[in-house]
Amino acid sequence: MVSTGGNGDTAAGETGGAVAVDIKALHKWYGEFYVLRDVDLTVRRGERIVICGPSGSGKSTLLRCINGLEAYQRGEVVVDGIALGNDPKKIAMVRRDVGMVFQQFNLFPHLTVLENCTLAPIHVRKMPQAKAEEIARRYLKRVRIPEQADKYPGQLSGGQQQRVAIARALCMSPKIMMFDEPTSALDPEMVKEVLDTMVELAMDGMTMIVVSHEMGFARQVASRMVFMDAGQVVEINTPEAFFTHPQHERTKLFLSQILK
């Protein structure tokens, strides 16, 4: 599965490596309303994809189709060679490889930070408690909040909670990490601590798909930028080209609005 070094890439900006996520002609609709229209996207191992676009453009829905939180009507999503479909077994297999961080953190408020991190390893991976705790403490250290392990999420700041959420996802040792607007619910002074954690993760070579409007972060870590509007992928480009020479009119308009 794992192959590094060029294996004949053709698409502009795609780096080498095995395909991690392959989305082909994906459609999703509610009644007559299309949420996703003919979306194609290939993410290779080790790539960092940043998806942006106006609200309601289908970014989050696309993300949620990748780990089966949303069902889709037509098309194909293949994660690590597993075609997702609507089969619960396949979805469970995919979720084993994909970690997710939510806009609203979605930590479990009745469990301590440490228990939040060990819950899934113990009950899904059947890991012994001592080992799960050891791993959890390691990741909490990595997101720089080892001293908060025994507190409850409600006692932490938003930025700390989001870092716990990142640690919780990492404890399942995912191959791909997805972030759904991870800093949108944070107070401005807390955005940086979360982004720093994500940059470190990117530096470690994690495959990341990030829905975000943090353009500084995108410039710094993105391998490719994806711009979506009205359920469609409008433009895929390297960050350099994306920010300096956006190709599509809608991209230009969007960038002019958020980079004001």
Binding site: L69, A92, R95, F102, A120, G154, A165
Partner: protein
């Protein structure tokens, strides 16, 4: 609010305003501390408030002293029959006849359970108390084992202990002889223990996306809630024998038990559903993203939160259920209240105060049971509030 004199304010260095000196201290507000302050703040804050305070004090003065006089000061504590509790020239005011209650205490506890077998009921009460203490004491060791004992071993033991197991030398005691507190405790604990899990299942069923499961749950909940408990009990005890051959018809007490348990489950289902709805969808999604299955998510993530927010409602249902057990009275089962009702008609003890004493005792016992449930729940709530949501 604060006035600044010019000397404490200087405009320098481009800043519009920089405070140079602290504002002078204000005198403490008048009488906001001490007992006088407390009185003002809590009892006489406004004229309306003061009127309410005075009225409340008058009301208490009117009710409390006679109650205490009846229950304690004028009460008769000892005696062998009605003579003890009759008014005489030497003692014109007679209070509660506790001697009557003392004389019937065994009857109130065991009903007509044979005297030779009452130790079995005592053992049952002891086993129950042991199991309850194990489960209700949150920091108790091995609570998993406690749950296994309470929900697995204890019901089986109790059944053979109370009903009988002839090969082991425990003669059969027909349930028609059971009575008093024994029956109340059996009906209430079966109702309490069965209604929560069944209620949870019904609530989940009602929220299910499977039409058959959802439909059945809705029909059950709405039907049972739409019918008075007394009707359910009458149907169980009067109508069931019309449809089922007598040999098949289950025991009268069991019919009442099933009726009470199902009735309480329907109410519990709605209580639990309210709790489930209070858990944000994000919790399900986070658990799904971590690959927890449906039942795991329910057990580890959703139910702990759902039940916690709804503890006051669960206890409310339990308290109502505990008192509703008195309705089995109407289908000929001798629960605690029915034994008091029977005893107060006893001519040996017929006095003007017998009925009042019996009912006062009943009220006291029911109040103690329900109030301790409520206190326990408050304690649990406070304890679980540690990691309150953001």
């Amino acid at each position: 609010m604060t006035t600044l004199d010019a000397s404490s304010v200087t405009t320098t260095g481009g800043a519009a305003f920089v405070r140079r000196a602290p504002a002078p201290e204000l005198a403490p507000p008048f009488a906001s501390t001490g007992w006088l302050g407390w009185l003002r703040a809590n009892l006489f804050a406004t004229p309306f408030n003061a009127v309410l305070t005075v009225l409340t004090i008058l009301l208490l003065a009117w009710i409390v002293p006679p109650t205490i006089r009846f229950l304690l000061i004028d009460a008769v504590w000892t005696g062998g029959d009605r003579q003890a509790c009759l008014a005489t020239a030497a003692r014109p005011d007679v209070g509660a006849c506790w001697a009557f209650v003392r004389a019937h205490l065994a009857y109130f506890t065991y009903g007509s359970y044979p005297i030779s077998g009452r130790w079995r009921v005592d053992v049952f009460f002891a086993l129950l108390a042991f199991g309850m203490a194990w489960l209700l004491w949150i920091d108790a060791p091995r609570r998993g084992l406690g749950a296994l004992y309470f929900f697995g071993l204890f019901p089986i033991l109790s059944f053979f202990l109370l009903y009988g197991l002839p090969p082991l030398g425990l003669p059969v005691v027909d349930t028609s002889l059971w009575g008093g507190m024994l029956v109340t405790v059996v009906v209430a604990s079966v109702g309490i223990v069965v209604s929560l899990p069944l209620g949870i299942l019904l609530a989940l069923g009602r929220r299910s996306h499977m039409p058959a499961v959802q439909g059945l749950s809705v029909i059950f909940i709405e039907f049972v809630r739409g019918v008075p408990l007394i009707t359910v009990l009458f149907m169980a005890s009067v109508m069931l024998p019309l449809f089922v051959p007598p040999a098949w018809a289950p025991d009268k007490l069991i019919r009442a038990l099933v009726g009470v348990a199902l009735f309480a489950s329907a109410y519990m289902a709605e209580v639990v559903r309210a709790g489930l709805q209070a858990v944000p969808r994000g919790q399900w999604e986070a658990a799904a993203a971590l690959n927890l299955g449906y039942w795991q998510t329910l057990r580890l993530v959703v139910l702990p939160q759902a039940l916690r927010v709804t503890i006051p409602n669960i206890v409310n249902t339990y308290v109502a259920l505990f008192k509703d057990t008195t309705l089995v009275f109407f289908v000929g089962i001798f629960d605690f209240l029915r034994t008091i009702e029977t005893a107060r008609a006893n001519p040996t003890w017929a006095t003007p105060v017998t009925s009042a004493s019996g009912y006062a005792f009943a009220a006291l016992v029911y109040f103690l049971c329900c109030y301790s449930m409520s206190r326990y729940a408050t304690g649990i709530e406070r304890r679980l509030a540690v990691g309150d949501r953001r």
